[in-house]
Symmetry: C2
Subunit: 334 residues, 2 copies
């Protein structure tokens, strides 16, 4: 393993420290904990949004903390759920009195720890609810689908909705409904060309020949649901657009937000070629790529590959997506 | 070679097409040419900024076209200078009547083609000047130093200065002087852990053992000026901060803008660990990391490694650095 790091056991902490140091005007850390709050939290009279996940997905989710997106994020070790106590402290520290929505990507450990924190926060008198993000169309059964790129769209859109309703005009129920609308209109799927290496483990998460591709990967270094021969960017795009468009029943005339994500080790040149080809295949189906996002957003460390998320847009969702935010990692090119 | 692409011979064109497609409100391409203009160019009554380089450095320089940064960029093949004719057309298409400043990173082919275009544009009646960016402190002799991360700071700061002076209050001479101030207060140096592969070549640009590091790399896939044993992020940061701080005579109390750049294949987790360690070593010298930029900015395709640029800040430079811009790739986290 050849990486730029100091101690394989403390990478989650060290990277989080770097992220907070780089955005001192927006982010604040609870000392000694892997919990990051927007600097001015708690915001009285605003529904609060909290998320979190394992580390290794940088810039997610710490980079999505800030006015207009998350109020707090709790981070775990590499690819491991945040501790229940950290999620609970994030909820208690960020709550502005109108309740807390947990943005919860569907992974076993995260569901367990977030659910427990949600129950405990209710016992402590804070009204918490969650939205389960399960947008990975590589898996047929909806309840088993992993949460991938759509979590970022949920954080942006529900975050903007909560921010607009600051002053008490928007309730937790409304914010949750908006978040659920994003999930039900989102689909994602990705491919990997090469695995990543978890620093504490020190060896790649899987092996794959030079002429093969993993189809239907998650974002935790795992292989996909199928291994196929290497494909061109055009063929990859056509396949992913097809799978997602069919799952979402995207029809000619629909507008979609497009998130073309690199998995961490893939060059920007490749991401932009991929994005171009995705646009072609959307347009050939009559679907309008209305808002574009090319970057990493939620990576798998240095894994090589790309992931695509499509979100069917209404006027309302498009407006919320375009609202300003101070979250340091939210950009069209990330 | 395992990459997400369609045709190894057309990657520069295909990625450029993706970049323009993703930012249709900001960018406009001259059809059939690898020239990108800000959509509303030419801007009458504003000094014009034009840059360019080989491809493979995405998001640079196309991503730095937009209000507040560049008016146009001309792009070459992978790691090859843009054609003289393209630079000339970029100048002629973007000129707003007050003259054109060429932001020219110091590489042989770029210097040749930009200089020729500069001369031809003068012959055609457009006043063009250039600023040579040569910030790579790995090379002792200033005239031989390569242009690396400082080019992005020049584009941002001189671009903001030109934008402020819109309406004719600022001349080409003033903009050039500001750009030169950025160059003379900037220094950069980087390391590589692994090479990259130029698609048309199909094999890595060099080979390096698992326990070694290239010190003092450029941004064209070349090896460094010295090969050493692998180092921790802390040791790399200490070394790079030391070399640049000494070259720039940075003293206790100085403020610096910090650009901690990944070379393309390095994970965000590693970039943030590197940034954290850079901050530590700046602070231990009494230097204040005042503005931070963690991302890629100008990559070497999927090369693994990091590059550091420091810019000594005056109040004026800091203000210009913080001015708003519409360039799609300019962010604190890129």
């Amino acid at each position: 393993m050849k990486k730029i790091l100091d101690n394989p056991m403390s990478v989650a902490n060290d990277a989080l420290e770097g992220m907070v140091l780089s955005s001192p005007d927006v982010l604040r850390r609870i000392p000694g904990r892997r919990i990051v709050l927007r600097k001015d939290a708690p915001i009285k009279g605003k529904v609060t949004l909290v998320s979190g996940a394992g580390s290794g997905h940088e810039p997610g989710h710490v980079g999505y903390v800030g006015r207009g997106m998350l109020d707090a994020a709790a981070m775990g070790d590499v690819f491991s759920a945040p501790a229940t106590g950290d999620v609970l402290t994030a909820i208690q520290s960020a709550d502005g009195g109108l309740g807390v929505l947990l943005v919860l990507p569907n992974y076993g450990g995260d569901v367990l720890n977030f659910s427990l924190a949600e129950r405990k926060s209710r016992e402590a008198g804070i009204h918490a609810e969650h939205v389960l993000v399960n947008d990975d169309v590589a898996i047929k059964e909806r309840s088993r689908r992993r949460g991938v790129g759509a979590a970022i769209f949920v954080e942006k859109i529900a975050g903007a909705f909560a921010e607009r309703g600051r002053g008490g005009t928007t309730s937790l129920v409304d914010v949750k409904r908006t978040a659920e609308t994003v999930v039900s209109n989102s689909g994602s799927m990705g491919v990997a060309l090469a695995p990543c290496t978890i620093p504490a483990v020190g060896r790649p998460t899987f092996a794959i020949p030079e002429d093969e591709l993993e189809l239907g990967i998650g974002i935790h270094g795992e292989p996909g649901v199928e291994r196929v021969k290497m494909m061109t960017a055009d063929a990859i795009s056509e396949y992913l657009v097809g799978r997602i468009a069919e799952d979402l029943h995207l029809a000619s005339g629909d507008r979609a937000a497009v998130m073309a994500r690199g998995m961490g080790g893939t060059s920007n040149m490749e991401k932009f070629i991929f994005y171009r080809d995705v646009c072609r295949h959307l347009v050939s189906r009559g679907i309008v790529p209305a808002n574009s996002f090319v970057g990493e957003y939620t990576a798998s460390m240095e894994m090589e590959g790309v992931h695509l998320t499509l979100l069917r847009l209404s006027d309302e969702l498009k407006g919320l997506l375009e609202d300003p935010t101070e979250a340091p990692a939210w950009h069209s090119w990330s």
